[in-house]
């Protein structure tokens, strides 16, 4: 059974094909994280400072994205696109859905980062003569960032892994490209292991970095 | 019946904190240990009931070698109660359950028996009204008294107190000291590590002054606190009084 590892029909072309898939995975991740973070920061700050009648409905809507499987969200969005006649590629649909999905989680991260800055600290800053703006840039953002960044890194990696579901609506990313090769050369364990390795290499170093940041910041508290 | 400490040495890594301590506490005695922070007095208490291992020397409790190879520490600890500086209440249990836990699970008493014991001990420390609440609802002083009741519920022969008032707000210190006074008046054998010099002077049969891991002076309070001989003792007392 291990003979397949040594006498494989897996070629350099196949590897290139998979790396191209990995490129698509990274592009999807990039757009999703960009859009999701921008929306998340806006929603998060709104949730942190707005009265309950803004906060509660916004929270409820975002909660929907966290309570429905991403796969279902993709299928619903993709069919809705056809219904209303928007001509987006599956890649674009994937980016948009993933960005909304990420924004729902990112909102909570930004909000808790914002709320982690004690009012007393802000009052102390203002009492020293810092302006409202300086208070935000010099005090609130640096503290909020420390709280939020490790979770944000974790979320980004989560979204990167979740891009694997996008092939269901027709995007050839890393997992789909390996599936294509599996169908042709019939060596699922070998090909999938390579796909897994690529995912791991894209995720693990960043996960480690996040863990280290978190630890260092906690020690300095 | 006594606690005998014989030339005990204790180090954390290369840092020796107890450097050859010898003393005996007889049944019925109250011995206070005073001294600056880091002088090794708390560590010595932990060694007496085997929560910390020792490097050399011997500690005998009623003739049993605490750090001996065949010693059943769990059994030995039943007769040595200890109360910590941080009271260490079990937050997931009510006050009553905190005190009942060990009698039930360690001594194997029935629920009714354990409850009777707990109610009695809690009454003695003045917490009868609080038995149904969780520790988080108590003040520090109340939690500390609960910790005393918890230790007493095992009917120990000896009680060790490790700076039990130093984490408390000043106005809460009195209620805890009152509880300890009550215990000593009932003849409980106690070793009290404390910063409360006046209290030590009042309740102790003997006072030991610890300095840099050694006993510098030991004797009746009137002597050690009232009329100290060693220059270190004099300096220390000046700094705290």
């Amino acid at each position: 059974m291990f003979s397949s590892l040594f006498e494989t029909s897996f070629s350099a072309n196949d590897l290139m094909f998979m790396l191209k898939g990995a490129g698509v995975t990274l592009m999807l991740t990039f757009w999703a994280v960009l859009g999701g973070t921008l929306l998340g920061v806006v929603f998060g700050v709104i949730r942190a400072i707005s009265p309950w009648w803004v906060n509660a409905p916004l929270g409820a809507v975002l909660d929907v994205f966290r309570s429905i499987p991403l796969l279902i969200q993709l299928v619903v969005a993709n069919s809705f696109k056809t219904i209303v006649g928007i001509h987006w590629s599956p890649f674009t649909v994937g980016c948009v859905v993933l960005a909304l999905y990420m924004s729902a989680y990112c909102t909570e991260i930004v909000r808790s980062g914002f709320l982690a800055v004690p009012t007393t600290t802000r009052r102390a800053a203002r009492s020293l003569g810092l302006s409202w703006r300086q208070d935000l840039t010099e005090i609130v953002f640096p503290i909020a960032l420390r709280v939020a960044l490790p979770s944000w890194i974790g979320l980004t990696l989560g979204v990167m892994k979740d891009t694997a579901m996008v092939w269901w609506i027709g995007v050839v990313e890393l997992l789909r490209s390996s599936q294509v090769i599996v169908t042709r050369i019939q060596e699922p364990l070998f090909v999938l292991s390579i796909a897994g390795l690529i995912y791991f290499l894209m995720s693990f170093p960043i996960a480690r970095l996040g863990a280290r940041l978190e630890k260092r910041w906690r020690e300095n508290d | 019946m006594s606690i005998e400490i014989q030339d005990v040495h204790k180090a954390f890594g290369s840092l020796e904190v107890v450097k050859g301590v010898t003393m005996t506490v007889e049944k019925g005695e109250v011995v206070s240990i005073i001294g600056g922070s880091g002088s090794g007095k708390s560590t010595l208490l932990m060694c007496i009931n085997g929560l910390e291992p020792i490097n050399s020397g011997r500690i005998l409790v009623d003739g049993t070698d605490v750090h001996g190879r065949g010693t059943d520490l769990n059994k030995l600890r039943r007769k040595i109660g200890i109360v910590f500086q941080q009271w260490n209440a079990f937050p997931h249990l009510t006050v009553l359950e905190n005190v009942m836990l060990a009698p039930r699970k360690v001594l194997g008493k029935s629920k009714a028996e354990a409850e009777a014991i707990a109610v009695e001990k809690l009454a003695r420390v003045g917490l009868s009204e609080k038995i149904k609440v969780y520790p988080s609802k108590l003040s520090g002083g109340q939690q500390q008294r609960m910790a005393i009741a918890r230790a007493l519920a095992m009917s120990p022969d000896y009680m060790l107190f490790d700076e039990v008032t130093s984490a408390l707000d000043p106005q809460l210190v009195g209620e805890v000291l009152d509880t300890m006074r009550l215990l000593s008046s009932e003849g409980m054998t106690m070793i009290v590590v404390t910063h409360e010099i006046a209290f030590a002077r009042e309740v102790s049969n003997r006072v030991a002054f610890f300095h840099k891991g050694r006993i510098h002076e030991i004797g009746p309070p009137a002597q050690v606190i009232g009329n100290p001989r060693e220059p270190e003792t004099i300096d220390f007392l000046k700094s705290v009084l």
Binding site: M1, R66, Y199, F200 | A151
Partner: protein, 220 residues
């Protein structure tokens, strides 16, 4: 937009979809129970004095956390086939999600264990409790409270992950049933929108009952 929505066929499919939801819940619950068991083993293994156990536990945790859940399910379904282990889609899905759950929960448990102060053990031991007694009576109940919220989160995750079964051919869970209807009628939007509502209600059901449970369990 010249599309007319046809909701009636979707509602006719509702009973069967609800049966599918039950299968979904079944897989999620099983994967959590198994996941918790493996997670405890992993947490113990990660602090073992034997290198081989440590290495195995760490690899499991890192693989589970650094590759997609869908990849893990694929491995169970297609990959293991190369080794002569052929799992049907139900078992493969269950295995994949369990693997994933265990990896995340192992870290949760380790964090929970660290969060109970060592002084609690000390206090318990000073009352004459043995190591195991102290853990069972004092550490574990406190740890349970700390991990309870992450545990419910993971349960919601497990429900969401079950939807991936359709990709390895599962056809009797909520997504599987929905897809069967979809293939027959191509009313994709209606069927999947209805499925989305059911998933939402399932997830809410879990979070609300967890909140009620926490309220009853943790009075302190």
């Amino acid at each position: 937009m010249n599309y007319t929505f046809h909701w009636l066929p979707a509602f006719r499919a509702l009973p069967e979809m609800l049966w599918g939801a039950l299968v979904t819940l079944e897989i999620a619950v099983l994967s959590m129970v198994l996941g918790v068991l493996f997670a405890v083993l992993l947490a113990v293994g990660a602090s073992s004095q034997y290198r081989i156990f440590r290495a195995a536990a760490v690899s499991w945790v890192e693989l589970a956390r650094n590759t997609p859940a869908l990849f893990q399910i694929y491995m169970a379904y297609f990959g293991l086939g190369s080794l002569g282990i052929h799992l049907d889609s139900f078992v493969a899905l269950l295995a994949g999600i369990t693997f994933n759950n265990a990896g995340y929960l192992a870290e949760t448990f380790r964090g929970g264990l660290r969060a109970v102060p060592q002084t609690q053990v000390r206090a318990a031991r000073s009352l004459g409790m043995g190591q195991i007694q102290a853990f069972r009576l004092v550490v574990m109940p406190q740890m349970f409270r700390i991990v309870f919220y992450p545990l419910t989160n993971q349960m919601v995750w497990a429900i969401l992950m079950t939807s991936l079964g359709v990709i390895v051919g599962l056809n009797n869970d909520l997504t599987g049933v929905t897809q069967e209807y979809n293939v027959r009628s191509f009313r994709t939007f209606e069927y999947f929108a209805l499925a989305a509502v059911i998933y939402y209600l399932l997830a809410k059901f879990v979070t609300v009952s967890a909140r009620l449970m926490a309220w009853r369990l943790f009075r302190y």
